[in-house]
């Protein structure tokens, strides 16, 4: 394969961008390596084993549940004649717009002892106290796993559905003609073929789970994130905290690499996604079960929580809240727009570099720029302070040396830190989307412009970028929504007088007063719906 371009400045800038994005991660790793081991011994003897166990259990349950929800719903939607298929097809994506901590709070409210459900049960059966009956406790590890799975399964649903829809229909036909029923064909052909998509989406879910902080904290499920917090903020030992965070990140990286390894060589694309597929005809009973399954996911993951929020908003909203909402909303927008735009520009630049430059290691910048996704927001915020702090000091030193007054913490003490953290964290999402967009451009189109006497810039602006427009839009929106929802990084890095919707809602939640922020929560969800609606309308398969 001959790459076309050999620009040195492009090469330099690509590596610099990648380096800038990986520096916080490196700072964290280095900080971890040099940590003292005293605290570990204590932690290891007391709480760490159970934290670790909780982390692994949580990850296991979330991934298992999300796989169960996502793969089955994708299978039902693509392979059977379920009723209301066209509606369910996009309704099942909606839970993606719900932040997990929000759902966690709403369900706790609903299913707590004092919540309407248990109240109604007590009134109905005449129970007096908690000892009279058994009711599941939602504030437990399985509860947290269920909450996370309910809002994360659409990742698996979305990618798996796409994989099913793009499978070559002839493969299924071949299987049928070899004597397997539609159902057998699904399990022996369609499902194994969707494995790469399922693996990718499951690893996404895993990373989101390990990075979660608000949900587990609200449910007081102690995980590695708790340990990181304790070591850093409780014991004041940043080094040890960095080390723990590095372990967490390596855990995630290990999973990602294992997943990539497992599907190396298993690339198959369909030449002919066929729309007139043979559907599995459900019997009445099956139809009923499938419908209950899908609708339950839609209702529990989206419709019920949003309804609860709307009820809260109607009951508790007032004018004063609206003005606060406006300013925090604008802040959220500002941060998210910056982050999405920068992440997309970086993803484009590195993605096209990987495609078009003749550097032997041209995939390296893109690869390493995505590492940040594996770093939980809290840890990233910590690393950001460790990175930008010294940089700020150096900058101030330089400016003072020249003879001007020091400008202060222009990096770590400003919106820059927040935006930078968001870009580091979510670059991987933009990278992934844009890289797959670039992959779909036929190789010949890279060569055609040059053969017509058009230079690199012309080729990019007239050929690649226009073709990539849908992917750019999708990438932008995905990062935008994630940035709107992101919590820990914002909490720890905010400049003065700066509240975002998510930070405000988190604080209200931790004081058990979400009612006051219901409007803001609805706003987050509505913004989250934007990309889903757009994705659904565009012909692009995502």
């Amino acid at each position: 394969m001959i790459a076309l371009y050999n620009s040195r400045s492009w090469k330099l800038s690509s590596y610099i961008i990648a380096l800038v994005l990986i520096v916080p991660v490196l700072v964290m790793l280095v900080g971890g390596v040099s940590a003292s081991t005293q605290l570990y011994a204590h932690l290891w003897q007391t709480v760490l084993p159970s934290y670790l166990e909780n982390t692994l259990l949580l990850a296991f349950w979330v991934v298992l549940l999300a796989l169960f929800f996502g793969v089955f719903s994708a299978a039902i939607i693509t392979q059977t004649n379920i009723v209301f298929k066209q509606q369910l097809r996009w309704l099942l994506l909606l839970p993606l717009a719900m932040p997990a901590y929000l759902v966690a709070y709403l369900y706790t409210d609903l299913f707590d002892y004092a919540g309407p459900v248990q109240r109604a049960l007590r009134a109905w059966f005449g129970w007096q106290s908690p000892t009279d009956y058994w009711f599941f406790d939602i504030r437990t590890l399985p509860g947290a796993a269920l909450m996370l799975a309910l809002v994360l399964f659409p990742y698996i649903y979305m990618l798996t559905r796409g994989a099913f829809e793009q499978q070559d229909q002839n493969l299924i036909r071949a299987s049928r003609l070899l004597g397997l029923t539609a159902k057998q064909s699904f399990f022996k052909v369609a499902l194994p073929l969707a494995r790469p998509a399922i693996a990718v989406s499951a690893s996404l879910v895993l990373m989101e789970t390990l990075a979660d902080f608000a949900t587990v904290q609200y449910f007081s499920v102690n995980t590695l994130t708790t340990a990181i917090y304790d070591t850093w903020l409780g014991y004041g030992d940043l080094g040890a905290a960095n080390a723990l965070a590095s372990i967490l990140m390596l855990l995630v990286l290990f999973v990602v690499l294992a997943e990539q390894r497992s599907r190396a060589g298993l690339r198959h694309q369909s030449a002919r996604p066929n729309l007139t597929r043979e559907l599995i005809q459900l019997s009445f009973g099956q139809q009923f079960i499938a419908s209950v399954f899908c609708w339950a996911l839609v209702i529990l993951g989206f419709l019920l929580p949003i309804t609860l929020l709307i009820i809260m908003a109607v009951q508790y909203s007032d004018v004063a809240q609206l003005s606060v909402l406006l300013s925090t909303g604008i802040n959220s927008l500002k941060v998210s727009v910056f982050a999405a735009t920068i992440a997309v520009i970086i993803a484009l630049s590195l993605g096209l570099y990987q495609r078009l430059h003749n550097d032997k290691f041209r995939q390296i910048p893109q690869l390493i720029s995505g590492f940040g996704y594996a770093v939980p927001g809290t840890v990233l915020a910590m690393a950001m302070l460790s990175t930008l702090g010294p940089l700020d000091h150096w900058l101030n030193g330089v400016v003072e040396f020249i003879g001007f007054t020091a400008p202060g913490l222009i990096l770590s003490g400003s919106l820059f830190a927040v935006v930078f953290a968001l870009v580091v964290r979510f670059s991987a999402i933009a990278n992934g989307t844009i890289a797959s967009g670039i992959k779909q451009i036929p190789r010949s189109l890279d060569y055609a412009p040059a053969s017509l006497g058009v230079n690199l810039i012309g080729s990019l602006t007239k050929v690649h970028l226009p073709i990539l427009t849908p992917a750019i839009l999708v990438a932008w929106l995905l990062v935008f929504v994630e940035a709107m929802k992101e919590l820990p990084a914002v909490l720890l890095l905010r400049p003065f007088n700066f509240e975002t919707l998510s930070s405000q809602i988190y604080q209200l939640i931790s004081d058990e007063m979400l009612e006051q922020g219901a409007l803001g929560a609805i706003l987050i969800v509505l913004f989250g719906l934007l990309p889903i609606v757009l994705l659904n309308n565009s012909k692009e398969k995502v």
Partner: protein, 375 residues
């Protein structure tokens, strides 16, 4: 319809495949219309037709992927699909039809090895039987050294072999092949076709083979069927179809020769290449008709003189292995009746002619075949 005699006669009781009055309408478009077809056990049928003529839909209807709007499909005495003729809709699912299929892109399972692909349809057999059957097919198709390879590690021809082994493994009653050779390198194609034909014969396999290349039919099939616009135009042995096409469409699609417009009267025929007698020819048509002129029946008289009056001129020249290939058109001045003018008469000859050269050509006497464009 006359040429369909062989298929319509219900004399032969052991027809393996019988299709009766099959019609399929997809999205208000008639794809197949009242199609009848029957095929004897062990026969290989080559199905040709322009793209969109309904070939693939016919295969899908036999395989069970398209439901008939009307008609019946019967294999080996078992009714597989029926709709409308006598009673309601009935359809046996694809997996119970014992019909094998080889797809244009083979549709091999990328997540399975060669061996596993072949074993895919053998689930009902015992382990030992499976292994024996697979081993047999691997040897037969010379795939032994690739038994544990994945599909993407094989060449196009090897993939083709795997597809055939996989389709034959469960011993289907009927094998359908959808343009199976179109992805094979032209040099290997003929060899492979011959080999696979021998294999099918060895298995006494009944097969329908779809292609748009009539030469493949000659190499591969025992019978030839020509389809157009959802209808079966002619079904017969390939040489008969070529010698006696039953319609203008069949002859034109198969490119059996070029067309010379003629004015046919009761006893003689008038054309711009001269008049000739058809008194002893069987078929009688009157009015404007087209004479199928096979290149071998065209006589070039390169010396234009008083006896050989120039009646055509060279419009196009190309070189072939056998000599020169020319397209001739009629001379303007000669045509009193514009409808008799021709523009693309194919002529093969060793004699070098120049562009726009006027020549005299004539038709050798033979069993003339006249067709009406509209029938």
């Amino acid at each position: 319809m006359t040429a369909l005699l062989t298929t319509q006669s219900p004399i032969k009781p052991i027809a393996l495949l019988t299709i009766e009055q099959l019609s399929i309408t997809l999205q208000e478009k008639v794809v197949l219309s009242t199609l009848d077809l029957s095929l004897d056990e062990g026969d290989i049928l080559g199905l040709v037709g322009a793209s969109g003529c309904g070939k693939t839909t016919l295969l899908n209807a036999i395989a069970g992927f398209s439901k008939p709007t009307k008609g019946k499909v019967i294999i080996d005495g078992h009714l597989l699909s029926s709709n409308g003729l006598s009673g309601g809709e009935y359809s046996v699912p694809a997996e119970q039809r014992q019909v094998g299929m080889i797809f244009q892109d083979y549709a091999l399972f990328p997540h399975l090895t060669v061996k596993e692909n072949i074993a895919f349809g053998l689930g009902k057999l015992g382990r030992a039987e499976q292994l024996e059957q697979i081993g047999h097919l691997l040897t037969l198709l010379k795939l032994n050294e690739y038994r544990d390879s994945y599909i993407h590690q094989l060449s196009g021809g090897q993939q083709q072999r795997v597809a055939i082994a996989r389709a034959l493994a469960p011993k289907p009653k009927l094998l359908l092949l959808d343009e199976p050779f179109s992805n094979i390198d032209a040099r290997l194609r003929n060899e492979l076709m011959v080999e696979i034909r021998q294999l099918l014969k060895q298995f006494k396999m009944t097969a329908i083979f779809v292609t748009h290349n009539k030469d493949e039919v000659f190499t591969f099939a025992d019978k030839m069927a020509v389809m157009a616009q959802g209808k079966l135009l002619q079904l017969d042995a390939p040489n008969i179809v070529c010698q006696q096409p039953n319609s203008y469409q069949v002859a034109d699609f198969l490119q059996l020769g070029s067309w010379l417009p003629c004015q046919v009267n009761s006893a003689n025929v008038h054309s711009l290449l001269g008049d000739f007698d058809i008194a002893n020819s069987g078929d009688k048509q009157t009015g404007l008709a087209y004479l199928l002129v096979k290149p071998s029946k065209l006589q070039l008289n390169s010396l234009v003189d008083k006896q050989n009056i120039a009646n055509a001129q060279v419009e196009y020249i190309s070189v072939t292995e056998q000599g020169y290939h020319y397209y001739l058109s009629s001379l303007d001045g000669l045509a009193k009746d514009k409808s008799l003018a021709f523009s693309k008469l194919s002529l093969y000859s060793d004699i070098a002619l120049s562009f726009k050269q006027k020549v005299a050509v004539s038709i050798k006497p033979h069993d003339f075949l006249f067709f009406n464009k509209n029938n």
